[in-house]
């Protein structure tokens, strides 16, 4: 971990994000765009699974998983570029620490969803309610990502 922080702090990415006047804002725009795609896709899937929009076809809702992954990948890449701007500053930021921790938990939650519930969920008919465990995962997912957005927004003030 330390090795990564040291490496990225002297990488070409670090030089680019610091020396180009438009690199940082451009990466922020990609980060916002990626988050919108990720959050919108999760909103559709999670609201369906949680039972708030159960008339959405489950199999089709699941087609948004690749979009969620796409949004997440955009954010992983743009986030890495933003991080390389000043790794030490981010590592020391309480908001950043919380953000990484919450994303990690959200990742575990997503794995549970995929390996534990996915095969059962796609069998649901339109309007049919998901199993309670799946509903919990969906609601926890929404709460976690809202929390990620919240602590991320506070990073600028900490």
């Amino acid at each position: 971990m330390d090795a990564f922080v040291i490496w990225i702090g002297s990488s070409w990415l670090h030089n680019w994000i610091n020396l180009s006047p438009w690199a940082y804002p451009a990466m922020e725009i990609v980060h916002f765009t990626g988050l919108s795609i990720l959050f919108g896709s999760l909103l559709l899937i999670d609201l369906r699974v949680a039972g708030f929009a159960s008339f959405i076809n489950m199999r089709d809702a699941m087609k948004f998983i690749p979009w969620a992954m796409f949004g997440f990948t955009l954010n992983l890449l743009s986030g890495t570029a933003l991080f390389s701007w000043s790794p030490d500053t981010f590592v020391a930021n309480v908001g950043f620490q919380w953000k990484m921790g919450l994303i990690f938990i959200a990742g575990l939650n997503a794995l549970w969803f995929w390996f534990g519930e996915h095969t059962e969920l796609v069998k649901l008919a339109d309007g049919e309610q998901a199993a309670p465990a799946a509903k919990v995962i969906a609601i926890v997912s929404l709460i976690l990502w809202l929390a990620v957005i919240s602590v991320a927004r506070f990073m600028a003030f900490l």
Partner: protein, 160 residues
């Protein structure tokens, strides 16, 4: 207090120095006001853009078994989030009124949001009127571009 507030009795100052303006900028001592309002604005924007995104990729032919009427519930969520953003946006606007009303990126953002809102209505009604598929998809693409353009302009407000 912004650069354009140099006449205490003037219009811009009277807005920036209002109770609400001082509250959000923290000059009246409430230091958490600005981060909180900005946070609400951030969550609202992700929700609005997210729903706009999942709707338009559906219109563009993706996951086409989801009935378009199934999006009505998501639109309610999006409208609620939009209301949150209108409110939080107005509060942020009051706080640094002089800066924003003279800022090019702010004007572009407002124009793109209005355009994006109209485009959503246009896309929905063109589907209802069963317009040619090509037309609907073109409108839907333009709708996505306006909304994501609004994100770009909004983010650039911090720089320009």
């Amino acid at each position: 207090m912004g650069d354009l507030c140099f006449e205490p009795e003037g219009f811009i100052c009277s807005i920036e120095l209002s109770g609400l303006g001082q509250w959000v900028m923290g000059t009246s001592g409430t230091l958490w006001a600005y981060p909180l309002v900005l946070l609400i604005h951030g969550i609202g924007l992700m929700t609005v853009l997210g729903v706009v995104f999942v709707f338009n990729v559906r219109v563009l032919g993706f996951a086409s078994n989801i009935s378009l009427s199934a999006y009505d519930k998501l639109f309610k969520v999006a409208w609620f989030a939009f209301a949150l953003n209108l409110l939080s946006g107005l509060i942020l606007l009051v706080g640094d009124f002089g800066k924003f009303i003279t800022q090019g990126s702010f004007m572009v953002k407002m124009a793109l949001i209005i355009l994006g809102g109209i485009m959503m209505k246009v896309v929905i009604s063109s589907i209802r009127d069963q317009k040619a598929e090509g037309t609907v998809k073109l409108l839907s693409g333009l709708c996505l571009v306006s909304w994501f353009g609004a994100i770009c302009a909004g983010r650039l407000m911090a720089y320009l």
